[in-house]
């Protein structure tokens, strides 16, 4: 998949996942790479940007084992942004599916 395109989709996926529940980096990486093939290393620059843009905030939480984990949680601003991206995605994927149906649907 095109790298730039994937980057945008990855952003949407991350927002939806932390909207569902607060997650730490590794957890997010696992949840995403279960469905989409990504270089998990690119997740952290993305999370860092989302935090800087105040779409999410972080907090440290102790875990039963190992070091404390940095959890990411969605802010109200992030929720608005997520809704906007979802709408964008729905339009976009709708058009693309339409094109594909018209193009190769009758073969």
């Amino acid at each position: 998949m095109n790298a730039q395109f994937k980057k945008g989709v990855l952003e949407l996926c991350v927002l939806v996942l932390i909207h569902q529940k607060d997650q730490y980096g590794y957890e997010l990486a696992q949840n995403i790479s279960k469905k989409i093939e990504i270089a998990e290393g690119s997740l952290y620059p993305l999370l860092r940007r989302l935090t800087k843009e105040e779409y999410c905030t972080t907090y440290l939480a102790e875990s039963k084992e190992g070091p404390p984990r940095k959890y990411y949680t969605l802010t109200p601003k992030g929720k608005v942004y997520m809704d906007f991206l979802i709408e964008d995605w729905n339009h976009f994927s709708g058009y693309v599916n339409n094109l594909i149906e018209e193009g190769v649907g009758n073969e």
């Binding site: 730490y24 590794y26 270089a39 998990e40 290393g41 690119s42 952290y44 993305l46």
Partner: protein, 186 residues
């Protein structure tokens, strides 16, 4: 490559970032390793999933430079304006005190040479008119000197046109140079 090597490699590739920023980023990857190891993965698995330190560092630096660009734009333009105003004032000062006088003198001298051309071009014509109307003066002397001064005037005109062109080009270049200095292109 193992975990320590991976993190060291990443660290060295991020050496251009502020220290605090870099430590925060590296902490995320350290945590990732820790948690994944507890999850039962090997260091090699984790590294393969993360992608090469080179690629990861590249993405981090890209995000960082985009951020800096977004932030830097406004302050940069305002400081640019201040710099341009200061430069313009300095240039005006230099031009008025040191350049304007000599340039005006040269231009004045240049145009006065046209005065000379007109004088030596017109003088033989007046002499010829006098010769034919009133019979004043020696025909040969006047014809010869008229030929001489008229050719001289023609040559001087041609020369002055060239000199004028060079002066115009030079002046234009100087003005453009000034504008470029103010705009910060030089």
């Amino acid at each position: 490559m193992n975990k320590v090597e991976y993190l060291n490699e990443l660290k060295s590739r991020l050496s251009s970032l502020p220290e605090q920023e870099r430590d925060e980023i590296l902490y995320d990857y350290e945590e990732h390793f820790e948690v994944a190891l507890r999850d039962g993965k090997t260091e090699l698995d984790i590294i393969n999933e993360l992608g090469s330190p080179n690629k990861v560092a590249h993405e981090i630096l890209m995000e960082f430079s985009e951020e800096q660009n977004g932030k830097g734009d406004q302050s940069q333009t305002s400081s640019n304006v201040a710099r341009m105003v200061l430069l313009a004032i300095a240039l005006i000062f230099i031009n008025v005190t040191f350049i304007l006088g000599p340039v005006a003198a040269v231009i004045g001298a240049y145009f006065s040479l046209y005065g000379v051309v007109i004088t030596i071009g017109v003088a033989p014509i007046i002499a010829l008119v006098h010769l034919f109307l009133y019979g004043v003066g020696n025909v040969f002397v006047i014809l010869f000197s008229a030929l001489f001064t008229l050719s001289l005037a023609t040559l001087m005109t041609v020369g002055l046109i060239y000199v004028g062109k060079w002066m115009y080009i030079g002046l234009k270049k100087y003005v453009i140079f000034n504008i470029q200095v103010v705009k910060g292109e030089r």
